[in-house]
Structure formats: structure tokens, C-alpha cells
């Protein structure tokens, strides 16, 4: 599987998981778990962006 697809797949799972936990958890601490699954999905989707920024910094440092 392409790394970019893997990122989308994992983030999608976390997002849907968070939605399911939020919907089934009721007004309980499980809803908080759903929120953290959403934050996890956001973090996973940020990994390519972070990798790209690291790559740019690395490339510029090597040019110097």
C-alpha cells in the first residue's frame, strides 16, 4: 500500500471510530475517548506535512 493511502486509511478509521464511540458512548467519559480519536485522526493526517517540513529543513541544511 502507498504510504499516503495508509495515512488516509488510518486517519479514516480513527475518525469513524471516534464518531462511533461518540454516538454510542452517551453522556459519559467514552465521549471524551471519541474526541481523542478525532484528535488522533488529525495528528495522523498531519504526518506527511510534518515529514515534508523536516525534509525541506534537511535539504536546506545540506545545501549549506
Amino acid at each position: 500500500m502507498r504510504p499516503e493511502r495508509l495515512v488516509q486509511f488510518v486517519a479514516g478509521l480513527l475518525l469513524v471510530g471516534g464518531l462511533a464511540v461518540w454516538a454510542l458512548g452517551g453522556a459519559h467519559y467514552l465521549r471524551s475517548l471519541g474526541v481523542w480519536l478525532w484528535v488522533g485522526a488529525f495528528a495522523v493526517m498531519c504526518t506527511p506535512l510534518i515529514l515534508l517540513l523536516v525534509e525541506r529543513i534537511w535539504t536546506r541544511a545540506r545545501r549549506r
Partner: protein, 325 residues
């Protein structure tokens, strides 16, 4: 004030606050069945001279009048930072729409709405970060107020306000992204692929089978090696070992990615462009034959939008919880 009880160390009841010198010891020694709030109530009954104040999983200073703000400050700021990112992306997308050449002006109107909403989101997020007090956007406050004035309950009005606010941000950005078709510019584009696909593409002089969206990037991608390829394209080096140069005339078939969230922002920063639909690109003539909608990219936009929406509504959801110890 109630008279302090005498400590009785002779009983073996682990749930008796009088058997412990401090609240921390009581928490450590008492049965796990008790919630922190329950332990605090029992402790305060027996030790009115040394009261404690429990909130969710935390002990807060008894003098603090707003324990919620004390406990949730860090979390509030984290979510406000995510809101700030969302607002920034809205402003960026709207700015692109306002500057894009477009004959009808529809994009400009939607872009102006998204720009205003983005600025509203930015100011609310900045105020939340500075004050550590969750601040609603003007949009949310206005819609909540209108909903209450037409008879909605405070809770329902609040929900309507949040959904409208998030909906305008996400829906508006999505509309701008699909309406503002910003071309790929004049720089030479390349398509990276593996050896067997490259041979098939060169043999047929056609890129794509008409079933998926085509992706390309700037010519500088051809020099990328090892992990740089993953960082810039999301492909493994073995999946991007060959470079197909696209004719300049093909640039008009490709669109610039609009940043709806972190993943599309990565695509934008890496210079990724996508075909305006599924189809086949003739490498000799540069003509793109479209066969359908750009499903792959719309899927990425949808996932990014859903994630941004979920982290926007998250503070409201998290605030409605009752966590056990």
C-alpha cells in the same frame, strides 16, 4: 463550621478518611470503587479543617472559584490552536478564490463569505488562547441567539449555533475549492511511477486508464531520492523510480490543490496538482480526455473536511463528559 473529627487509627476500614493523615494517602488507600468526587466529599465531612476540591480527575485549589477553567486550560488552548489552523486555512482558501480569474463572480461571493468567517474563526481562537475561556465565534453566537429567539431551548440553540458555524466553514471552503479551478501554471510537470507502468505509458504515449485521478508535481521532483520521495509524493521510492515528463500543453488539464486540512495542505506545499477528473492524457498532443469526476481528490477533501469539523466540535463534546477517577 463543623468540629474536626478525631483521627481513629485503630480501625482497619480502608475507606475511613480518619485513618489517613492526608487526602493523597486516602486516595491511594481507599477502594477503587469510589470516584474522586466521592472521596473528596467523605474527606471534607471528616476533615473540615483541611478541605479539598475535586473536579473530574483533578484536585484543584479550594480557593479557585472556577475549577473547570483551571483544569481544562491546557486542553482548551490545544483545541483553540486547532481552530486557529482551521481559520487560517479558510482565509487561505478564500484568498485564492478572490484572486482567481473567474468570469461569473460566484466564487468571489462565496470566497468573501468564507474570508469573513475565517477572520471570525481566527479572532475567536486567538481570544480563547489568550484568555483560556472558550469564546464563541460571532457567527455561532448570532445563530444561537436567533435560534433562542424563535423558541429553541438553550441546549438546542447552542447545538444549532455550533453546527451552523462549522458548516459554514467547511461547506464554504469546500464550495470554493470545487468552484475555484486554479490551473497548474506554466512550469513543466512530471509524473512519477514504477518501471513497469513507465514502460506501458511510454509505449502507448498515454497517461492514465480513465479510472482514477491523475497526479503530477513540479520538475524538481525528478531529483528527489530516498525518503525525500516519500515526504514529497507519499510514494515509496520503488513506486516512483521513473519520471514521465508531461508536455506543457497538458498543464491546463491539472488543478492546484486547495488546502482544506492537513493532508491537502501537504499536497499544496509539495506542489502536487491533480487532473480535473478521471481520464486519459495523451502525451503527444497534451490533450486530456475526461471520463468522470476526480473522486480520489474529492475523497481527500472530504476526509480533511470531516477531520477539521470533528476537531472543531470536539471541545463541546469533551465538555459534556463526566470522567471517572
Amino acid at each position: 463550621m463543623a468540629k474536626p473529627q478525631t483521627r481513629n487509627v485503630s480501625t482497619n476500614d480502608s475507606n475511613d478518611p480518619l485513618n489517613y493523615p492526608s487526602f493523597d494517602d486516602f486516595v491511594a488507600g481507599a477502594s477503587r470503587a469510589w470516584s474522586l468526587q466521592g472521596l473528596a466529599e467523605r474527606w471534607n465531612q471528616m476533615h473540615p479543617d483541611e478541605p479539598v476540591q475535586a473536579y473530574r480527575d483533578f484536585i484543584v485549589p479550594p480557593s479557585n472559584p472556577t475549577p473547570e477553567a483551571f483544569v481544562d486550560c491546557g486542553k482548551t488552548r490545544v483545541f483553540a490552536a486547532l481552530q486557529l489552523i482551521g481559520g487560517g486555512l479558510e482565509v487561505f482558501v478564500a484568498g485564492g478564490a478572490l484572486l482567481a480569474p473567474e468570469p461569473t463572480g460566484v466564487t468571489k461571493v462565496v470566497g468573501a463569505v468564507v474570508l469573513l468567517h475565517g477572520v471570525d474563526t481566527l479572532q475567536a481562537a486567538a481570544r480563547t488562547i489568550l484568555t483560556c475561556d472558550r469564546t464563541a465565534t460571532v457567527t455561532q453566537a448570532s445563530v444561537t441567539s436567533v435560534a433562542m429567539s424563535v423558541g429553541a431551548s438553550p441546549a438546542s440553540a447552542q447545538t444549532i449555533g455550533v453546527i451552523t458555524d462549522v458548516g459554514i466553514g467547511i461547506g464554504g471552503s469546500f464550495a470554493v475549492g470545487t468552484l475555484a479551478r486554479i490551473g497548474a501554471g506554466s512550469g513543466q510537470l512530471v509524473h512519477l511511477t514504477n518501471a513497469s507502468s513507465a514502460a506501458a505509458i511510454r509505449g502507448s504515449q498515454a497517461l492514465g486508464l480513465g479510472r482514477s485521478t491523475l497526479y503530477a508535481g513540479p520538475q524538481a521532483l525528478a531529483k528527489a531520492r530516498h525518503w525525500s520521495i516519500i515526504a514529497r509524493t507519499g510514494l515509496l521510492p520503488s513506486q516512483a523510480s521513473e519520471v514521465i515528463l508531461l508536455p506543457s500543453r497538458a498543464n491546463s488539464a491539472f488543478l492546484v490543490v486547495q488546502p482544506f486540512g492537513p493532508f491537502s495542505a501537504w499536497q499544496r506545499l509539495s506542489g502536487t496538482v491533480f487532473s480535473s477528473g478521471t481520464g486519459v492524457l495523451n502525451l503527444t498532443t497534451g490533450i486530456f480526455t475526461r471520463t468522470g469526476a476526480a473522486i480520489n481528490q474529492l475523497g481527500i477533501y472530504g476526509l480533511d473536511s470531516a477531520i477539521m469539523a470533528s476537531v472543531r466540535v470536539a471541545p463541546g463534546v469533551a465538555g459534556a463528559t463526566t470522567a471517572p477517577r
